[in-house]
Amino acid sequence: MLEFKLALKNLLGSGLRTWLNVTVLSIAFVIIIFYNGMLDGWNMQATNDTRAWETGAGQFWHPDYNPYDPFTFADSHSKMEEGILALEEKEMATPVLITQATGYPGGRLVNILLKGVSPNQKILSIPSHLLKDNPDDPYYIPAIIGNRMAQNLRLKEGERVLVRWRDANGTFDAREVTITGIFKTTVPTIDAGQIWIPLEKLQELTSMTGEATYAVISPNAADLPEHTKWIYKDDKALLKDLADIMAAKKGSSRVISSLLLAIALLAIFDTQILSIFRRQKEIGTYIALGMTRMRVVRLFTIEGTTHSFLAILVGMAWGMPLLLWIQRNGIPMPANADQAGVAIADKITPYYGGGMIMATVLLVVLSSLIVSYMPTKRISKMKPTDALRGKLV
């Protein structure tokens, strides 16, 4: 206890030097929490949105379906197996059919994916209810697109675009589709290059009656069919790309955190070296008065580590209001931030989890402890007489 009292007294006695170190460390502490909070917030938002708009709670894929190879789409369709059909009947699964197609907006040629989805589905957030048929026109094809696609094709609601595709036998067909809705989503993988039309219409147009490419499973689905030929992809598999990107981002976050911390810790290390050099007679007096060398080492280590505790307190004092303000207002992202294909909202809302804050506190305290201890090792080798005469170093 004596060491703690002495350490705090010495530290506060150092005045400006201590507060400079504490300020630098507190900045590093707050920035680390902010950066990690931003990544965690983005991760949560992207994961939730991707689940809501694209992946659901899982998916059953046609055995030949490979979303990374568009050339597999023409062959990856068939009638769904009984187990999956039973889920669809209970509204616990919704089938999606994909066909490669070409759009011709204003005489331009744009490669697109024509996707069929049930207008009555409730599993995905895609506003499929906007796919309203026109009973008076048998050739009417309602279609919805995302705002990125609308921008790319330069289309507005109510306008028409000519689309060409091939049916199951490879025969060309072409019709105009009418844009009945433009939706805004943070998930570019269900927007860019895609036109959504009613599933039954697409099945009819492509001679693929009752067929689908994959089925999206509802989070409320209880018993999933086993031993199906269609491949089940769970939540983890479907979000793997996102998780990989986040892991890479976390890696870069660790590098930035380490650099910030290194700058702050360098100051503490420097202070420790200076203290030991300037306070040799004091160290000799402590030992002469009966303190063991290890107690003196402990005293100086605690003194250095206390910087981190003060930094956390100071950081909380100025950082907490700032971080909470940022959390409330969000961080605006540039309009083309989602061009890489990852879900990014207009604003990222940081998420400061308890675990992340505790881990940052531990990191700051432990690293301060290490850099505070390292320079004090030479105290354990000193002779008290030399120290009293100021000849330790």
């Binding site: 050339f71 023409a74 005489g107 331009r108 060409r164 025969t171 060309f172 072409a174």
Partner: protein, 250 residues
């Protein structure tokens, strides 16, 4: 009496023109298509041709030499420009191999890759490879007669009788005398016009009529289309078997 004469003359003229139309269109569509096939199809052929692709900003021309046997075997070597020279394509049944000298690699194109455009043109590999006789894959009806390129033509409507075909419907303007198409329109199942080919410079080659210039145009997009000009063609030659082997790609 004068009025009667005028009316009579008109009736006679109508009857004569109807008879002429009936005589022309009365020909069995299938027979016409078979005559077209006789002109266009052969046991084998060796062609030197150029493909001019008109882009938005510029045009480029690719020349090639091809050896073709029936609808199953074909070997093509690109001659110019320098960037494409030495590229070779071998088609055997439904498979296609392409050798690229710059990469010194042979890749196989199959399945749906065959539906991709050939070097950015309005033609797909499938368009180039589908050499089936028209009379084998289409039911045909003669719908009328017309004049095109200052020649009398018969207008044929072709509707697919097989399911594995790219164009469900075609319309052809056939030279009524030489039985060679002068215009060809390809339609989607919905009736939407997809592509148009204008066939010109019909020449007499080895007892058959052959259009040496074809301009293909994708009717759904802007652009001038793709020109295919045959500079030399020889039918029913002796082609060594090794030409149609993968060894000839390198």
């Amino acid at each position: 009496m004068k009025i009667f004469n005028n009316t009579f003359t008109r009736i006679i003229l109508i009857i004569i023109s109807t008879l002429i139309t009936l005589q022309l269109t009365g020909q069995n569509g299938k027979e016409i298509l078979e005559k077209v096939d006789q002109n266009l199809s052969s046991k084998n052929r060796i062609i030197e041709s150029s493909l001019t692709i008109h882009g938005r900003r510029s045009s480029r021309t690719i020349t090639s030499r091809s050896w073709t046997e029936g609808d199953k075997k074909s070997f093509t070597e690109y001659l110019t420009p320098a960037s494409e020279a030495g590229t070779k394509m071998l088609k055997l049944d439904g498979q296609l191999w392409i050798y690229t000298p710059s990469a010194d690699r042979t890749i196989q194109i199959s399945g749906h890759l065959l539906r991709q455009s050939v070097m950015g043109s309005d033609l797909s590999y499938e368009d180039m490879m589908d050499d089936r006789k028209l009379s084998d894959v289409y039911n045909v009806t003669v719908t009328g007669k017309d004049t095109l390129q200052k020649r009398d033509v018969l207008v044929l409507e072709l509707v697919a009788k097989v399911s594995d075909i790219a164009y469900y419907k075609q319309k052809m303007w056939i030279d009524a005398e030489r039985y060679v198409p002068l215009r060809q329109e390809m339609y989607a199942r919905s009736g939407q016009l997809l592509k148009r080919a204008e066939l010109t410079e019909v020449k007499r080659i080895q007892n058959r009529w052959y259009p040496s210039k074809v301009v293909y145009k994708d009717m759904l997009k802007d652009g001038k289309g793709t020109e295919f000009v045959t500079s030399s063609i020889k039918f029913d030659q002796t082609i060594p078997e090794h030409i149609f082997s993968k060894a000839s790609l390198r």
